[in-house]
């Protein structure tokens, strides 16, 4: 298997990894850093080719995409985009962590977009909770009902007319990505 660093370079947003001076500004800015590896550690470990620890770990998925690291990085690395690039690799290789539920939540979101052309929030959360923890779904029932009764959670998904066009575009993109 090829070097992780080279693969990260090849993904849009991933090329900044070489520029890092390990100053730790990103880590000090990150709201999720104290729950896992910090962005600085992740970058260091990518450069040390610690493939499994990074791609199969939980830490990537704690990124809330707040972009604070991105605007503060003295080397203009865009660590948020870098986390997304690493997440893409983890998913492509089918090695993303099973301990964090964020990849599944993202996948459920994407499926909703592919099926309808838009994301259907009620369907997304229902499917997500049923697949992860149906008991949690019960816990969330009160919140769901509050949103429903305030007219903020329509039960029926809106499907756009162009959903077939959206699928055609995405299928073509997938085919092209496969041949690259």
């Amino acid at each position: 298997m090829s070097n992780l660093l080279e693969e990260v370079y090849a993904i849009p947003g991933g090329e900044g990894v070489a520029l890092c001076i390990q100053c730790g500004t990103c880590s000090a800015s990150c709201p999720g850093a104290d729950r896992g590896l910090s962005p600085r550690q992740i970058i260091g470990m990518v450069r040390a080719d610690m493939r499994e620890e990074i791609l199969s770990g939980d830490s990537l998925w704690l990124c809330a995409s707040c972009y604070l690291c991105t605007v503060r990085c003295p080397r203009d690395i865009r660590p948020t985009d870098l986390m997304h690039a690493l997440e893409c690799l983890a998913v492509r290789d089918g090695v993303s962590s099973k301990r964090t539920r964020t990849p599944l939540m993202y996948r459920t979101f994407i499926n909703s977009v592919i099926n309808n052309g838009r994301v259907h929030e009620a369907g997304l959360v229902t499917r997500f909770y049923m697949r992860t923890n149906p008991l949690a779904a019960l816990k969330m029932l009160r919140l769901g009902l509050a949103l429903l009764s305030h007219g903020r959670m329509p039960l029926r998904a809106r499907k756009i007319n162009g959903r077939r066009a959206v699928r055609t575009i995405l299928d073509k993109a997938r085919a092209l990505a496969g041949t690259q």
Binding site: R78, L143, H150, L170, A173
Partner: protein, 295 residues
């Protein structure tokens, strides 16, 4: 009258942020800003799509941009901070990465679309604070919101990565708009801190802690309400406020308004037109005095 291609995004069109969509249209009308909804737009893919598949995500945005270009090429305006950065990221990736760009072109062509890279994407807050004249807004204010303490909450993706002209950590646009409406802007040091975004679904304990800090800071500083420019921030702070209360044994009861709802009250619009009944923590106690003073 200024005209724009309007991209509401999934949440504001009829989901958890529906009141944002309603109040955006109502305020637009009151300020002579024409927002023409982009026909048959699709989801931008938001952070989840871009985190799993960069090319697919760029394609989703590119279809919308191609539709806007075909329509008339006017600026795309969205009230949603996530749509704002996602559509913008597609624009910059298409220019920065030619290989990705030509693959996206080929994918679009499969659906008889093409995108010439010429559409600018802007946030509604940017339009109202830059294109609309502050004097014009002030001249249309029918009810001054004097006495109302507002904590303007920008969250992340409206100001970061820096796409507009506002400062990424100490922005002013929402402050100025709230002041134009006559409200008092209170100091709110956490105004660009993260609410946890969609991690509220998959990492609830992390997000609830971030939300608690935001509510705490706003309350400590004497806010009567928080004002946001993002449907996800609003849902997290408003709908999840009871979850914060039960988890941390707190008793926050802070209304969380969209900035368009706040402006709409000052512009003399009705609670219904602004979707105020859709807020989970009711803002009516804080706002009723202003409705009673309507001319």
């Amino acid at each position: 009258m200024r005209r724009y291609n309007y991209f509401p995004g999934c949440s504001c069109s009829e989901g958890t942020g529906v009141a944002y969509g309603l109040s955006t249209q109502a305020v637009g009308k009151a300020l002579d800003i024409e927002l023409v909804e982009l026909a048959d737009w699709n989801c931008c893919g938001s952070t989840p799509y871009g985190s799993l598949d960069v090319m697919g995500s760029t394609c989703l945005s590119a279809r919308n941009l191609a539709l806007a270009e075909k329509a008339d090429g006017l600026d795309v305006v969205t009230p949603c901070s996530s749509c704002y950065i996602t559509l913008n990221k597609a624009n910059s990736y298409l220019k920065e990465y030619p290989e990705l760009g030509s693959a996206v072109d080929e994918a679009l062509a499969a659906a008889d679309l093409e995108y010439g890279r010429g559409v600018r994407v802007r946030h509604l807050a940017e339009i109202l604070s830059e294109d609309a004249e502050p004097d014009v807004i002030r001249s249309k204010v029918k009810i001054s919101l004097s006495g109302l303490n507002v904590a303007p909450y920008y969250g992340c993706q409206l100001v970061r990565p820096r796409l507009g002209s506002d400062d990424p950590e100490c922005p002013q646009s929402l402050d100025s708009l709230a002041e134009s409406a006559g409200a008092k802007v209170i100091p709110f040091p956490l105004k660009t801190h993260c609410c946890g975004a969609s991690l509220i679904i998959s990492e609830e304990s992390l997000a609830l802690e971030l939300i608690r800090k935001l509510l705490d800071s706003a309350q400590q500083n004497g806010a009567h309400c928080i004002v946001t420019a993002c449907p996800l921030c609003q849902a997290n702070l408003d709908a999840y406020q009871s979850r914060v209360n039960s988890r941390f044994k707190t008793n926050y009861s802070l209304p969380v308004l969209f900035f368009t709802q706040l402006m709409g009250v000052a512009l003399g619009l009705t609670p219904k037109a602004l979707g105020l009944e859709k807020n989970i923590v009711s803002p009516m106690k804080a706002l009723t005095p202003y409705f009673l003073s309507r001319p």
